[in-house]
């Protein structure tokens, strides 16, 4: 019964928008981007709370918005389940009444029974008669999710739903949402600025900047192969560099400072010339140069640890490579950093795995010197 949601929005003011989205039933797409990138506005457009200058939104065969035909369904007729950032529960109603108020079908007894089932699903059995003020932040969030589901929505929208709770509660709620979503067959759209959150629960991530959709891809693909330097930067990536591609008989070669790297075979199709490239830190293998010898001698670069900060179980390193006049960033497990006695000034060798070296589209957003 659930249908695909399609969204196409364009606007220049008050908030610029330029995005197309397609979400299949049961699919969870995360919209990520910095503050003011238009994430919440897109959600409000879908819910019918904001009218963009141009746009078309459909849920299956039903047109919710078509600015060309001057068609716009009010929020009440869209069957949208929206979990607000600050939940916005009705303070004068109990948890149960918050749910039944959102139901428009069935007798009162049916509605109560359904509301209790929903509260069970979000693990709030026994708290049905509590008022919002008597519930903890995490419990309020669960009531908000249950209320959003109470209408049998055609789309479930979640606006930073975990931002108002402490970290432990957030992790628990994220796990619960990951479990709950398996039983939901509507399209779901999650707005978040937390990349890890998006990575752990979304099927696809759409990266936004200034209202523009920059890339829409499954999390692993997105983090390993961002389309452009701008996307890589928004994803918090550091290892973005300029180099020059040359096609030689033995295959493509990447000139990087005085070094020559061998990228993956996909680079054969690229035109030779200057190129912006990226390597995820998962594709950088660290070796202590004195004790280990590289496996095949390819893409080995010598460096020196400039920064070594233990952050719990991970240790963050900055390694400068004089031959390339560049600094690479990578995380290693803290126990490994200790075992290898890594410290500022340590000499190390880094192996850049060929498959990890990835060419970025030039989008004008690249500034090597501003990398941080």
């Amino acid at each position: 019964m659930s249908a695909e949601l399609t969204v196409a929005l364009q606007a220049t003011a008050p908030i610029p928008l330029n995005i197309t989205l397609r979400i299949a039933p049961g699919e969870l797409v995360a919209l990520v981007g910095p503050s003011g990138s238009g994430k919440s506005t897109i959600l409000r457009c879908i819910a019918g709370l904001h009218r963009p200058a141009h746009g078309r939104i459909t849920s299956g065969d039903t047109v919710w918005l078509d600015t060309e035909k001057k068609q716009m369904l009010p929020p009440q007729q869209r069957r949208v389940g929206l979990v607000f950032q600050d939940y916005l529960l009705f303070p004068h109603l109990t948890a149960l009444q918050n749910l039944t108020l959102a139901m428009d079908q069935g007798s009162q007894a049916d509605q109560q029974a359904r509301a209790i089932t929903l509260l069970d699903r979000v693990r709030l059995r026994g708290l049905a008669d509590r008022y919002p003020v008597q519930l903890s932040g995490g419990q309020q969030q669960r009531v908000a999710v249950a209320r959003a589901l109470a209408r049998d929505p055609s789309v479930l929208l979640l606006d930073e739903p975990f931002s108002a709770v402490d970290r432990l509660t957030r992790e628990r709620l994220q796990r619960e949402l990951a479990l709950l979503r398996r039983s939901i067959d509507t399209p779901m759209l999650l707005v978040t600025h937390d990349l890890e959150e998006a990575r752990s629960i979304a099927d696809r991530i759409c990266v936004l900047q200034a209202g523009r959709g920059l890339q829409d891809a499954p999390p692993e693909l997105l983090f390993r192969k961002p389309r452009s330097a701008r996307v890589a930067k928004l994803l918090g990536s550091y290892n973005i560099f300029r180099g020059e591609l040359v096609q030689e008989d033995k295959g493509p070669q990447l000139r990087w400072g005085s070094l020559t790297l061998t990228p993956g075979s996909r680079w054969q199709q690229r035109m030779p010339g200057p190129v912006t490239w990226f390597i995820p830190d998962a594709d950088i293998v660290l070796q202590r140069s004195e004790s280990e010898t590289p496996r095949d001698g390819r893409n080995v670069i010598q460096g020196r640890v400039d920064e070594c900060v233990a952050l719990g179980t991970r240790t963050s390193l900055r390694v400068s490579c004089p031959a390339a006049a560049a600094t690479l960033a990578l995380d290693v497990p803290t126990h490994r950093a200790r075992r290898q006695q890594l410290a500022i000034g340590s000499s190390v060798a880094l192996v850049l795995l060929t498959d990890g070296i990835h060419a970025l589209d030039d989008d004008g957003g690249y500034r090597e010197e501003t990398a941080d």
């Binding site: 819910a47 389940g81 929206l82 600050d86 916005l88 004068h92 428009d104 003020v133 959003a148």
Partner: protein
């Protein structure tokens, strides 16, 4: 005890409150939610009766209600009667004089309702009207009760404006507050004392009710 004056005061208070309550809710909600140029001016205009001496307001109303003024002559053309020295006249004056009491508590109450709550209600499928009835009204209820009680009690105790516009015509414009003044002028301290005690009791109970309800409202059902 001047029972006619008491009945007249109660009638005047009932009519004033009945007319002003919906006005208070509509204008209070509008002022709480809308941001527009001249909003401060509108608010100042509504609050004016709070600071204006009643005789000043009474004087201007007396002038506006006279047959020579546009409002007074329009009323005369429509009904054949005059506004000055009539029950309708003191009712109209009472409505104007009580605007801040009817609007301000409701406006403050609406201002405490998060704007997002209405959007949450719309997304739950509630129409504008159901959102108002099921979400907004229950939340602003203490403000509405305050407005109701304050308007009612304030009308009963009103003196200066009523005297200026209505005079003291028995059974038509002589309210209990004016009757007390009349009795004191006639050295009938006993009657004046009885009526004053009655007004004091009514006012105290009403104010107690407002504070009691406001206290309950602020502790929204925490048991």
């Amino acid at each position: 005890m001047d029972w006619t004056a008491l009945r007249l005061s109660l009638e005047l208070a009932a009519w004033t409150t009945a007319i002003l309550l919906p006005v208070g809710i509509i204008v209070g909600r509008w002022l709480a939610h809308r941001r527009f140029r001249g909003r401060g001016f509108v608010e100042a205009l509504i609050a004016l009766p709070l600071v204006l001496p009643p005789t000043v307001l009474g004087f201007y109303l007396l002038s506006a209600f006279s047959g020579d003024a546009p409002l007074g002559s329009l009323w005369q053309t429509l009904t054949g009667g005059t506004l000055n020295f009539s029950f309708t006249g003191i009712l109209l004056a009472s409505i104007i004089f009580n605007l801040p009491f009817a609007i301000q508590p409701v406006q403050r109450a609406f201002e405490t309702v998060p704007p997002g709550l209405r959007e949450a209600a719309w997304c739950c499928g509630l129409s504008d009207w159901r959102t108002f009835l099921r979400v907004e009204l229950p939340l602003v209820w203490p403000g509405v009760i305050s407005a109701f009680v304050l308007t009612f009690v304030h009308t009963i105790g009103e003196f200066g404006v009523v005297l200026m516009v209505g005079g003291a015509i028995d059974g038509e414009t002589r309210t209990i507050a004016i009757a007390i003044y009349d009795r004191v002028q006639a050295f009938d301290d006993e009657a004046a004392g009885a009526m004053s005690l009655l007004l004091l009791t009514v006012s105290f109970v009403a104010i107690g009710l407002v504070y009691g309800l406001a206290g309950r409202g602020s502790a929204v059902r925490v048991r």
